[in-house]
Symmetry: C2
Subunit: 199 residues, 2 copies
DNA sequence: ACTTTACAGATTCTATGGTTTTGTAAACCT
DNA sequence: AGGTTTACAAAACCATAGAATCTGTAAAGT
C-alpha cells in the first residue's frame, strides 16, 4: 500500500510545521520552509495538505490527537474509573506544560502587535479558546467510547454526556490556565469526577 | 463628599469606552473619543484612569463586576443552594449572550489582521482566556462569601475551594463556548454542583 | 475639580515600490 | 502512480518616508 508512505510524508510535514511554529510562531511558517525541513518539494505540501490554513488546522488536529492518544492509553490502563480519569488528567497537564507548540499558540495571545514581529500568530489560538467546540467534541467522543469499559457508571445518557463534557472543559481550562501542579489538579478533578459519576 | 461625582465621572468614562469598544473594537478607542462621549476633557480621562492599558483593564473589570453583581443578587435570592447556583448560572449566560462588549472581545479573536482594520483588538482578550486567573479569583471570592449562608455544605475547606473553582471555570467555559441554551446549560451545571456539593 | 493649551515622542496612516508567498498548472522524472 | 522542477498570476507582505494622529505630561486658566 501507499498508505504508509503517504502517512509518513504527511506526518513529517506536520511535524516540520509544528517545529517552525514552536520556534518562530505560526506567521513564520511558509510552505517552502515546511517542505525544505521535511526534505520534500513545495508542491508536495500543497498536494498533501492543500492551503496554509488547512495545514494549520491539520497541525493543530495532529497535536490534539497526540493528546487524545495519551487519554486513550491511560483510560485503558487503569481498572478503576476514577483512577483512570486522574491519571489521564495528570498526563495531559504534564504534556501540556512541556509542549512547545501549545506554548507558541498560547504566547501568541499576548504580544499581538509587538515591534516588527508579524501579528498573524493568532490564527490558531481560537482552536483553543473561542472555537474550541470541535476540540471539545473530539475529546468528548474519545472519553465516551472508553467509558463503556467501566461498569460503575449508572448515569442516564444525558447526565453521562453532561459529566463528560464537564471534565473535558475543566481539563481544557486548566491547560490554558493552570491552577496548581498537574498532580494536585488531577487529584482535585478526579475527586469531582468521583462525586459526579457515583454520587 | 466628592466621591459621588468622582465615581460618576469614572463610570461615565468606562461606559463610553465600553460603548466604543462594542461598536468599533478596542483599537478604535482613543482617549479623545472617550472624553468627548463622556462630555469631559481628555485630561480628565488621564487624571481618572491613567494610561490607555489601565483604561482597558478598568473597563474589563467594570464589566466583570456587573456580572458578579448579578451572581451576588441571585445567590442571595434563592433559599436552596443548587437553585441559587442554577439561577446565577443562567443569568450569567443570558447576560453574556447579549453583551456587546463581551462579543467585541470574543470577535477580536478571529479577524486579527483582516483588511484595513487595526490588529490590536486582542489586548483585552487574554483577560478571558490565557490570563483569566484574576477573573477566576474574583468570581471564586464572590461565590465563596455567599456560600456561607447555606447550611448544607459539609465540605472541607480544600474540597470546597475545588468545587467553587470548578463551577467558575465551567461557567466561564460556557460563556466563551456555549454548548446549548443558557437554561439547559444552567440545569446541567446545577446538577453537577448538586452531585459535588452533597455527594 | 475641570478645562484649555502646549508640547515631545511614539504610534499609526497613506502611498509607493519591491519582494515574498500563495495557489494552480503544466511538463518531467523514476 | 508519487514526486519533482519550472513557470506563472494574484495576493500578501515588507520597507521606506512623510503626514497625521495619539499618547502622556505639564502648566496656566476658569
Amino acid at each position: 500500500m501507499t498508505t504508509t508512505t503517504e502517512a509518513s510524508v504527511r506526518e513529517r510535514l506536520l511535524a516540520s510545521a509544528a517545529d517552525i511554529t514552536a520556534e518562530s510562531g505560526w506567521a513564520a511558517v511558509t510552505m517552502s520552509k515546511v517542505a525544505t525541513r521535511a526534505g520534500v518539494s513545495r508542491q508536495t505540501v500543497y498536494n498533501e495538505l492543500g492551503t496554509k490554513p488547512a495545514l494549520g488546522q491539520a497541525m493543530v488536529l495532529r497535536e490534539l490527537e497526540r493528546f487524545l492518544a495519551i487519554v486513550e492509553r491511560e483510560l485503558d490502563a487503569a481498572d478503576d474509573l476514577v483512577t483512570a480519569i486522574r491519571s489521564a488528567t495528570e498526563h495531559i497537564l504534564v504534556m501540556a506544560e512541556g509542549n512547545p507548540l501549545l506554548h507558541a499558540l498560547l504566547a501568541s495571545a499576548h504580544s499581538v502587535s509587538r515591534g516588527n514581529e508579524p501579528a498573524s500568530n493568532n490564527e490558531l489560538l481560537p482552536f483553543l479558546t473561542t472555537d474550541a467546540q470541535p476540540l471539545i467534541a473530539a475529546a468528548t467522543a474519545v472519553i465516551d467510547e472508553r467509558l463503556d469499559r467501566f461498569p460503575d457508571v449508572d448515569l442516564g445518557p444525558h447526565q453521562r454526556a453532561v459529566a463528560i463534557d464537564a471534565i473535558v472543559r475543566l481539563v481544557l481550562s486548566h491547560v490554558m490556565q493552570p491552577g496548581s501542579s498537574p498532580a494536585a489538579t488531577a487529584d482535585d478533578l478526579a475527586w469531582i469526577v468521583a462525586r459526579v459519576l457515583r454520587g
